[in-house]
Symmetry: C2
Subunit: 222 residues, 2 copies
């Protein structure tokens, strides 16, 4: 594992969960969501967990000033709503699709429990995933406590490069599904600051970007 605050431990459950192994529960599989569609609301009871089979999903809540708290953004193969496995009764946050089309594998909780009982290895990897989520949150906390905005942004870009980056020549291209506002929310700063930093990094020849993609020219120096 790298030193980066934002680095991911990729526990990709796509091939375990979806679509083959769970034909039995396939009833309401694969729902189609459009950008901005809500998947669940805070008051919904936590009756199922989801895996993203296509698109991106954002988990958010809103603080008392109506500002968005971005808890996570998830891509293909990642699960969310997993707190249902920890005895959560209500979701407590919003899940919404943030790319189009977004498709999910929903798993009802009892089915999930059965699956985990039947397949110990699978159960373990689910719990492991929860463990990784916790560690990730701990790193985010630490970065918020001790690192300045620029460092946080660089760490975050590195994380994205690992997760979603595609090598093209010496560069790493990240398809750009976040707005600068999203970046700001994720690293805990303001949009204007992100704009400023993006241009600063461009000046320093570390990245290049358009509204379509971000090109990381020198991952090492970020």
């Amino acid at each position: 594992m790298r030193d980066s605050i934002w680095c991911f431990e990729n526990v990709n459950l796509f091939h375990i969960l979806c679509p083959h192994k769970i034909r039995d529960f396939e009833k309401d599989h694969f729902e189609g969501f459009k950008k901005g569609d809500f998947i669940y609301f805070p008051e919904d009871s936590s009756k199922s967990i989801f895996m993203v089979s296509k698109g991106k999903v954002k988990i958010v809540s809103y603080n008392s000033d109506g500002e968005e708290v971005v808890k996570a953004i998830l891509g293909k193969g990642e699960i969310f709503g997993e707190k249902a496995l920890l005895g959560e009764d209500k979701r407590g946050d919003y899940a919404l699709a943030c790319s189009e089309p977004t498709e999910l594998c929903p798993m009802r909780l009892p089915d999930m429990h059965q699956l985990m009982r039947d397949n110990e290895k699978f159960g373990l990897s689910i719990y492991k995933l929860i463990g990784f989520r916790i560690k990730k949150m701990e790193r985010r906390l630490e970065s918020l406590l001790f690192k300045d905005v620029k460092t946080r942004l660089c760490d975050f870009l590195k994380e994205m490069a690992e997760e979603n980056g595609v090598s093209v020549g010496s560069e790493i291209v990240i398809p750009y599904f976040f707005t600068q506002k999203d970046f700001a929310d994720l690293i805990g700063t303001k949009r204007e600051t992100v704009t400023r930093l993006f241009n600063e990094l461009k000046q320093e020849e570390l990245i290049d970007y358009s509204r379509k993609e971000i090109r990381i020219k020198s991952l090492e120096n970020l």
Copy 2:
């Protein structure tokens, strides 16, 4: 549940875990720790979980600048090292006693698993506790993202009042086992700022404090 960022959902497992129900595993029960003693190190493998039966335990890690990242401070009846249940192999942080004497109930992982298998209700409450830990961390994150230092301190004092406070007349007395440095670490600020704020709150007649205790004079207005 209250609105406070810092409010606790008290899942006290003391009477479930300790000391009666687990006589079988009692071998190395109740170890005595002095203030500052390390209970585990980051490289230790996660072979057991602990419950505090007496005293206080601090979970920390250190960032690259050697600054302490305080992840949690736990009192009687609270468990720690629970990430072992989530497939963690190494602890990844330090646990150290921060009051004297501190005593623990250590539970080896296999025993724990057996206990959880045998007693479904118990297993559920353990997982629930992990869920609460996650929510608490989410609140801490949110507070760090959006609230200023004074608000964070007030929220934290409210949390402590709930957890450890004793009503004395119209006041709530909190025994004072944290130094101002500890407060600073926990809410993400510097010691000098905590001192200033403590005095500010004293001026405003909201609290009173000595090195022995903090008296909350007006919880509502904090």
